[in-house]
């Protein structure tokens, strides 16, 4: 029996086949925010603008990447035994903001290069007996 797919954090991304991060947009200045942890538009002078929920670009350019070879402290939920994992930072195409995420499972970090096109996918962050807790991850766009 397959486990239930549950977002590791509620309301931060869509769960469809072409997942997108969910942010906020200040339509007057044209700037966006992710995550949605803003009280007002942080563009100085635009604190009067009502922010609207928006789905962010699911593609961008690789800003940088690194592979962690040591187990991080809590609250990271690590597989046992620990497995090295890669973190990528990607500049979103339209929003021109950099968002970090883990590299999708099965992608060889040796194949990465700063500047290459990337896309957002969902992948397992950790799991228990019933649920598969998913989070956004990055992978290269197949050439």
């Amino acid at each position: 029996m397959s486990k239930k797919r549950v977002p590791a954090i509620e309301g931060w991304f869509t769960l469809d086949d072409a997942p997108q991060l969910i942010g906020l947009r200040d339509a007057e200045s044209g700037t966006c925010f992710f995550p949605k942890d803003v009280a007002v538009s942080r563009a100085p002078g635009y604190d009067h603008v009502e922010l609207e929920e928006v789905r962010l670009s699911r593609t961008g350019k690789l800003w940088s990447y690194t592979t962690n070879h040591y187990k991080p402290p809590d609250p990271y939920v690590s597989p046992d035994p620990f497995e090295p994992y890669t973190v990528a930072a990607v500049e979103l195409t339209d929003e021109r903001m950099v968002v970090m995420g883990q590299l999708a499972a099965g992608v060889d970090p040796e194949s990465l290069e700063v500047g290459m096109p990337m896309e957002l996918v969902l992948g397992t962050l950790y799991e228990d007996d019933e649920n598969d807790y998913v989070v956004w991850k990055w992978q290269p766009i197949a050439a």
Binding site: A8, I9, D26, S29, G30, T31, C32, F33, F34, P35, D37, R42, A43, P44, W63, S64, Y65, T66, T67, N68, H69, Y70, P72, P73, D74, P75, Y76, V77, S78, Y85, V87, A89, E91, L92, D94, E95, R96, M97, V98, V99, M100, G101, Q102, P109, E113, V114, G115, L125, V135
Partner: protein, 397 residues
Amino acid sequence: MSNEVAILGVGMHPWGKWGRNFVEYGVHAMKAALADAQLDWKQVEFVAGGDTMRNGYPGYVAGGTFAKAMGWTGIPVSSNYAACATGSQALEAARTRILAGMCDVAIVVGADTTPKGFLAPNKGERALDPDWLRFRLLGATNPTYFGLYARRRVDLYGATEQDFAQVKAKNSRHGFKNPNARYKKIFTEEEVLESAMVADPLRLLEICATSDGGAAIVVSSLEFAKKHGAARAPRIAAISTVTPTFPDTYIDMPAFSTDSAAGLPSPDRGFRDSIAHAAYEEAGIGPEDLSLAEVYDLSSALELDWYENIGLCKPGQAERLLRDGDTSVGGRIPVNASGGLGCFGEAVPAQALAQVCELTWQLRGEAGERQVEGARIGITANQGLFGHGSSVIVKSS
């Protein structure tokens, strides 16, 4: 009118993993700084403490904690926290008080006792705290960010693992006889490259440890310095405590996303560049006037970023500066003559003050084997979590 204040005395408790009460290190440093200044604690009119977040309540109100430990004298106090930039904030509190004419002599002090291992977020389920979320959702440790910056240098500028190892080896040569350094050992590039990979392309010996330590500085008005027979004391010519300008699109701890540059135009200068720039503007000098620099080598590769951020060279040229020996003691513009964080590890609230202590000793010609000949002007640069710039320019009088 000049914004200058005099540095009458500096003192440190050696860095290490001593495991004692942080107050002890702070008091040790204060006594050393007062002795260096030839002043008595009772002559001090203001105390600015740098807070520590890892030692309970006394750490959150460090100014009062240190004042009590030295013996209450009724003077006003301030306690300051700005992560790695804490020391500069405390120094700025003292400087502005002096420049406002509210006191003549102030002491600034920071000290820390640190736990082992990775710096971890506070305990509990804290889904609104980005510092908690970055560990939970991404496993983004501090070395993860250092790894991202280092990888950019490799892919964009052709930096090599050898270059990063060379930074560590250089700083180990600078610091191995520094009496206040924790790691007094010369590392070769080969030894660095044999250490375990932590956050690719950075290895264990290239990533800053956390240390215990304490540093203190006695500052005064120029008038007081003159009366005190210290007219030739080094002076603080500038303190920069700038914050970023929106939109800031450089990924920085503990955030896992940046501002968006899709709306408002990006500032002329990125945040890291703006830190030293503000200090240069205030002091009325430029990078070409420097004798030496103390920058925050949280990782070996990050030191190379700072060369560019403080204007020693253009983006992409830091490796050349390093390879040519320009940033070694004896070179054109020595960087981290103290040994830097590579030899010290980080004692957060004391570290920015320790950088200023080093410049003071260098400008007084008292730095022993790591002395930069004829040092007249130095700059410190670092950055505290959540957008705290920190840069101090010290010059000879």
